[in-house]
Point group: C2
Chain length 595, copies 2
């Protein structure tokens, strides 16, 4: 559904979108200037600053501005586009880090150079602009870049791919808005070329950039998580536009295996710090869970494409999980700090990074204003700007499908729906028909997989899809109750890192324990959860029953089985994981050992 | 005890030492030439190959040759020394990677340049030569380099340190063999300077190179594990030579905390791949346990220095654990392949690296012939060459202390002892007096902490030290029985990654399960151990009782508690961890989930 057809109204997501479209936009532009990444457009070779992919942050910001479409930012938008356009070469080449005297040659380092990756984000920004505004200066730049890519990397050109996928979905999207099939063909060529060892082996192995095996042969997503989901997104785009059901099923199969074996409870992906990569099956340590915010963004991109292609509500289930537990977690309430990585276990209280300071590493123990690599904040911004598009779809039959629940107005053709809810705090969702055609049509509602006690207008509905087909009349109201209440969740026995633990979820929201909610001096690692006691709601928190086991120091931490220790029962309050570290430094656990 | 006073005789360690001193020496020299790291001495700037620290591999090989003292390698030794000496500058500077036109300036990158680190290994090689042979050409090169370091980094010189500690213990060792106090003073200066943020902040943070806080203030070892133990070794050397008990206790305190909270069951250290670093307290995941072989070498260096300084048998206990479970694990039986990292959980069968091929990454799923960074093999070689020195010590009172048990001959002053044993396969150690003075003296035996049923000549002795003071006569025999038998070991409840698991140990040796020992098609991750059943010896393996739980695929691996499944009891054979991956690709676990 287009962004002009869905509007968020005040609620969980609208608040965050508003902060992103104001405070975060200003914060991003401040830092793009300050770090020199905007200044690189027009800078001398010696004056260039930042990493090899810093151009892409400017493009992602442009994409966020384009989706937001706020007239107040229109002058800024054109000013940046002008700086970018001024650097584009006559043949369409555009990158501040390569190709000039004193720089490495164009495409001399496809493994790490990120030139095609940067084009990808430039083109996505152009697509956003074309979709929301029509063809203008940014679209022209993007089309020229895309033509250059096709000229250079076509069937008779450089027979390789970029170390970081992203150009693939961008080219298909550009095909969709321009109708120029050349872009689709080039995207397909990139998708098919990768996996045939066209890139050099590197320290992390070729799986890092998915060049270890052809995408049609892979069983599961692997390597660098962001690269993996961007590539898979592009492959779905290619498959859908070319009717390639084999390719679509290959990606869907990998998605299913990844969700079943390589995804955190939060929906986050990427276990490893070293290479920002997936671990092996069931390697999901909460300690230093990498869970890059950008991988969450990419995971939504992928699941959304699969949802459109196949309609299975599982995809929307995962999107919801990622939204509430990764996307909502990363940014600070004021929109000017963020998490790059999202650990599920903080053992030492974090340290607040100084205001207005760039953090040289991806992991910060508390949200930070900016990082040496700051991909996540612009990625969040473009996601928040386009968030309304993920709520609902229409089908050829004139029906409407609601995938996510948040206050919103939907106006598509003759159909008008207003949605009101306090979700996820409360499970009740009211859908009011504002306008409707004279004929019968089908309203389909996703019932999340955890909502085993959901009702629609008082009638039990099972997880999956609940479809209501009838002639609706303006003023009709449907009440969906997803019966949100806290529950204990246990991990598959094969996830070694959380054996003997349980977590608390409530609706789509994962909860956590912070040491701020424990008596002074206790860390979260002393808590043992009683798995037989039901968690309950109280004052906005979830209360679980447990025991405190401080542990005692030994000179060597391995030996005979420890004697069971008895401790009094205590009540322990948990809060949503996405709220963690907002009250100051704390230790934190999502998974709690059971007694 | 000097290397001329202790000789290994055929047994567990002598076999490995022999392989190292022949096959590994040849293999190392082959690769040093092939990779160009030897050729760098004399190469043009353009022709230089390898990483910035590759000079150090040549120096560690020289150290290994020096300790071995094999006349058959004497010509090779001098030929290499001549190549090294030819590159030394008139002022003593010596590094193939810096300082020439077209290279970065000397000491322009102390964070990563490794210049002082390379000197450290050069000086250690010189010390080994001085100790085993006397002052010759290598010693001259080392002394000139050390003088250059003192000239350049003295109280009025560059007020910083090297990003990788190693020069510190080397300078104290050079002081010991030369008596020139200047080297000791410089080592002390380096030890005291570090920790005051004299190096730049980096992606991994200043703790990576222990520049986050002064060593006297630290609670525990942290950052890059090899850097941490090398620095701590140098600090102990400085403390001992200057009588600085505060500094000694600071390091001992950090060692105790590290052993209690940051050390694997194998004695290995370093949890993280990203920065080859310690994790936080109790972060000891078996999956991708980094446990760099070099960190094992450095851990022995540190524990040995603390043992000499304080005499506590805990230090020798740890050395034994590292020897049998890290040092013995890394090299292949033929001495031409090795593990750089030592995982405790292999989830996917490894892939045999091609013969004569350099592996571009530190982690190889099976032992590999050479790596882009190949620090471990030369480090193993110098350790095997000097291994006999770790077996025993003498004291001012004329006594002898036995710290490690392996067949050996000890000849120190009037005292001659021959030690025979099948240890660690069997716990019986026979100590035969070959010669002895006419007066009483004390023979002290370490009783390992796990040897709770040990006897000496049939009389129970408790873990710790067993001292026998009397007048010994040639022909006297003592029989120590350490009662080696398999036992189940459980982890401290705070080690999250192995909650609900147990491991099997037998004497000092940690055992593991390999899928080769399971029925075809089963992986090690299906096994559950019955913690109530005693493990037993059978045919060289340890047999435990357990169950097979294959697990079943679900679309989402989190949910209600899984129903307990019943499975028949099976016998499962385990073998020493140091033997793993010697029979071909296999999956492997050290920690087994309990039922």
């Amino acid at each position: 559904m287009g962004l002009h057809e869905v509007t968020l109204r005040p609620g969980f997501w609208q608040r965050r979108q508003h902060t992103s479209r104001t405070a975060s936009f200003d914060h991003i532009e401040h830092w793009l200037e300050r770090a020199g990444w905007l200044g690189n457009f027009g800078a001398t070779v010696e004056g260039r600053r930042g990493r090899e992919f810093s151009d892409s942050e400017v493009y992602k910001y442009l994409e966020a501005l384009a989706w937001a479409g706020d007239p107040a930012y229109e002058d800024r938008f054109h000013a940046i586009v002008a700086r970018v356009a001024a650097v584009q070469q006559p043949d369409g080449y555009l990158n501040t880090n390569f190709g000039r005297p004193g720089q490495a040659a164009r495409y001399s380092d496809l493994e790490w150079g990120h030139e095609l990756y940067c084009y990808g984000h430039l083109i996505q920004a152009g697509v956003a602009r074309a979709r929301t505004h029509g063809h203008d200066d940014l679209v022209t730049v993007a089309v020229r870049a895309a033509d250059h890519v096709c000229d250079t990397f076509g069937p008779d050109g450089i027979g390789s791919v970029c170390g970081h996928a992203e150009i693939e979905p961008a080219l298909v999207e550009l095909y969709r808005v321009t109708g120029n099939r050349r872009y689709l063909d080039q995207a397909r060529l990139f998708v098919e070329r990768r996996g045939r060892q066209v890139l050099d082996d590197i320290e992390f192995g070729r799986a890092y950039f998915q060049d270890d095996m052809p995408i049609r042969e892979a069983r599961v997503l692997r390597g660098h998580a962001v690269r993996a989901v961007y590539l898979a997104s592009g492959a779905v785009d290619v498959a859908v536009e070319t009717g390639d059901t084999e390719l679509l099923e290959a990606v869907a199969r990998q998605w299913r295996a990844t969700v079943a074996r390589r995804t955190y409870l939060t929906g986050g992906i990427g276990s490893r710090h070293q290479d920002e990569a997936f671990g092996d099956d069931f390697v999901l340590p909460p300690d230093r869970a990498y869970q890059e915010t950008c991988a969450g963004v990419g995971s939504i991109m992928l699941a959304w494409r699969l949802l459109l292609a196949e309609g299975n509500p599982r995809y929307a289930d995962l999107i919801e999980r990622v939204l509430f537990n990764v996307i909502a977690t990363s940014p600070s309430d004021d929109g000017t700090r963020f998490f790059y990585t999202n650990t599920l276990h903080q053992r030492v209280p974090g340290i607040e990074p100084a205001a207005d300071t760039l953090v040289p590493r991806a992991a910060s123990s508390l949200r930070a204003p900016w990082y040496a690599v700051s991909c996540c904040m612009t990625n969040l911004a473009r996601t928040f700007s386009s968030l309304a598009a993920y709520l609902a779809t229409t089908d050829d039959d004139g029906g409407v499908q609601l995938h996510q629940y948040t206050p919103a107005s939907i106006r598509v053709g003759d159909i008008g729906l207003d949605i009101d809810t306090e979700y996820p705090a409360d499970g009740r969702v009211t859908i009011r028909v504002v306008s409707a055609p004279e004929t019968a049509w089908t309203l389909t509602l996703r019932i999340p997989h955890w909502a085993t006690e959901a009702t629609l207008d008082g009638v039990p509905v099972a997880p999956g899809l609940a479809a209501v087909r009838r002639r609706f009349t303006a003023g009709d109201t449907l009440v969906l109750d997803l019966a949100v209440r806290p529950r204990l969740t246990f991990p598959d026995a094969r996830i070694d890192a959380v054996r003997g633990n349980a977590a608390v979820e409530r609706g789509p929201v994962v909860y956590c324990l912070e040491s701020l909610d424990l008596p002074p001096g206790l860390t979260v690692d002393t808590v043992r959860l009683d798995p037989a006691a039901e968690p309950v709601d109280r004052d906005g928190a979830v209360i679980v029953t447990g025991h405190i086991h401080p542990g005692h120091d030994t000179s060597w931490p391995y030996g005979p089985p420890p004697a069971p220790s008895l401790a009094d029962s205590v009540e322990i309050p948990l809060h949503p994981y996405h709220r963690w570290a907002r009250r100051g430094p704390s230790t934190m656990r999502v998974w709690l050992p059971t007694t």
